[in-house]
Symmetry: C2
Subunit: 396 residues, 2 copies
């Protein structure tokens, strides 16, 4: 046929992760590749009861078209949850999205022109790179270390003309890193001075294994932060209910973009989420998720310590779903993946998470959906393959 795709479509590719996930759907595969929460954490009974309630008590609005901004009671609940101490969040600034991924698409649409400078962490969330890429930005990778993004790297030269900084301060995907309080304060200070818009993507905030959550960037700089959150990791991702909180001027444009994107997020699922969370349910539910993930993380870290050879390093996450592994220079994690899949173990190579200059000797491990015995078995297989790869890399 003679039709022509748009330039952006010609550059589009499928996420490397989703392609890997297809391979690893075989039941015999031990998969550390997923970013999926454990279905053991889904509050099935409660969601069923709430779905039933919603379609019994007031079915019409749950089945009818609704406002683009979202279900007003859910917006109010979200605003209240983020209003702490001195910071009061206005429900008017909340927009309910069809999962957090949609927030990224809407932000790309409203903030990125072709060639716009966009600052991201090194590495950063692949789904954000995908969503933003459609609008053809010029990505700038900001130096990052074990504690996340380094505020000192945000020099005036680097900030010059940047549309925004995109950052995941809590248990980042892919690294599991958390930005300490001091860095958050320093980042907020720099952003304020420079008038820099900051997109704070925060789906894992609640998943701290111990201790309190650290203050959000939103709480430090409410006029300049777009905060993204989600019910995917604390209730269930299949409902596709996320949200964002944005300064009024940006919020208004995001609402208009959402109207064109899908009119609104399903009225039904928004109401189920609201009914499920409105009376404090998450305060008892989230600790059970933390306990499960914390235990599995511990099992994986112990197995790695035992099985992984010298020269391989990793972080010890304090929350979230991921561990980030650094291999010795010259060991390519894509090649390692081929070998691992042949032995029915899967993970995600780190390369695709870099906006520029991929570090091919990195990989992401997720432990949340795998039972302890399988974690140990899978890590032992990876350990053996790593020893072989490192030996080969030395010879070569």
């Amino acid at each position: 046929m003679s039709w022509t795709l748009s330039q952006r479509a010609q550059k589009l590719t499928s996420s490397a992760i989703r392609e890997i996930l297809k391979v690893t759907e075989r039941p015999e595969v031990i998969s550390f590749a997923g970013g999926l929460p454990s279905p053991d954490t889904f509050p099935v009974e409660r969601l069923r009861a709430k779905a039933n309630e919603v379609l019994t008590n007031d079915p019409s609005p749950a089945l009818q078209y609704g406002p683009t901004e979202g279900y007003v009671k859910l917006r109010e609940w979200i605003a209240t949850r983020y209003s702490t101490g001195a910071t009061r969040i206005d429900p008017q600034n909340v927009l309910v999205t069809t999962g957090s991924q949609q927030a990224l698409d809407l932000l790309g649409k409203t903030l990125i022109d072709s060639g716009s400078r966009v600052l991201v962490e090194t590495p950063t969330y692949l789904g954000a790179l995908q969503a933003f890429s459609l609008f053809e930005p010029n990505f700038v990778s900001v130096a990052s270390d074990e504690q996340g993004l380094q505020p000192s790297a945000l020099t005036p030269k680097l900030l010059e003309g940047a549309r925004f900084l995109y950052v995941l301060p809590n248990f980042q995907n892919p690294t599991g890193r958390r930005m300490p309080l001091e860095r958050r304060q320093e980042l907020a200070k720099i952003a304020k001075q420079a008038g820099l818009l900051v997109l704070e993507d925060d789906p894992y905030a609640a998943l701290s294994y111990s201790g309190d959550a650290l203050p959000t960037l939103l709480s430090m700089l409410p006029d300049q932060v777009v905060h993204m959150g989600s019910f995917s990791k604390v209730l269930a991702p299949g409902l596709r209910v996320g949200y964002l909180i944005a300064p009024p001027e940006v919020h208004r444009k995001l609402v208009q973009a959402k109207q064109a994107a899908d009119l609104h997020t399903p009225s039904f699922t928004q109401r189920i989420v609201y009914e499920a969370v409105k009376d404090g349910f998450l305060d008892t539910h989230i600790p059970t998720i933390r306990a499960l993930y914390g235990e599995r993380c511990k099992v994986m870290l112990e197995a790695m310590k035992e099985q992984f050879p010298q020269g391989v390093t990793w972080n010890e996450p304090q929350g979230g779903m991921f561990i980030w592994v650094q291999l010795p220079p010259g060991v390519d994690s894509f090649k390692l993946l081929d070998q691992a899949i042949a032995q029915n173990v899967a993970f995600v190579p780190g390369g695709p998470f870099f906006a520029n200059e991929p570090q091919l000797n990195t990989l992401r491990l997720s432990f949340v959906t795998v039972p302890p015995e399988k974690i140990r078995r899978g890590v032992a297989i990876l350990g053996k393959l790593l020893r072989e790869s490192i030996a080969t890399a030395r010879v070569a």
Copy 2:
């Protein structure tokens, strides 16, 4: 603040219709403005039973992340429904979308570059103009009459370099017009010769008041048609489940674009829809919607005949949700709307439905959510205002 919005965001505006709908939410307003289906048609009991079933029989996949392409059983059901006689639709070519509106966004992303020629009817669906506009096309309005788009207007010069033609052959929004069989065949022939991609938007196909549905453009030219459908008008829009059927090359790009847009449509609502429709339910349900809408349409047409002054003309739809009204030249329907709202009656002015050169002496009436008594009362008020407006226009 010093941040910069994208150029496309700076041009974004809210839908005129959604702004009007906000005004007309007051219970005392008789609103012919909505494009909402009647909640009387929602099969509440059935959807509640199915939601309960889904979360009882196999809850995990309904609450977990799912494939971007959609729930495989629903895709198979859709493909089967569109496979008639000689045309077999492959489930691989189906993509489930978050309402039909999302299909428009994905098509805009994958097919439109800045300045691309895009052919549309005169007038056409406002939501499509909104979705496509984000990608800055050059809209070309193709001549249309009482029978919809005129294929004879599709001259080689007009077709030159067009990315696609966007058309709603059944009970079009806003006009309620249906394209007759001969025009469909002629259009398919021209599109085939020219290698023109045709986007067939078809949410109202099932809502024919009498007689069989006409063949789709998809059935005539499956290799060159992207067909969009929806469960919003035959089940419930609050579930936000739509779909598209596209040739493989386009389908692949649409899937990649959807991955970045919202990962996938909610697993839960997709399963509810599938369970609700899988055993032929729509074959008994749709006739009840047709009967209700057909009756209300008849009441409105009778009232218009009685109340509207000479010089005002309209069509008599054979299905769908809308009547299109032409006022005498010089009568501005936006001004009429102000007067009508002051008397608690609302409709949608026709101007925003034109991609180029708006005809301001047009308006859209919807009858589906208004009981007969209120239809008569509202039409009587409009008739009186029209007589006054026409008298004023003559004097001026």
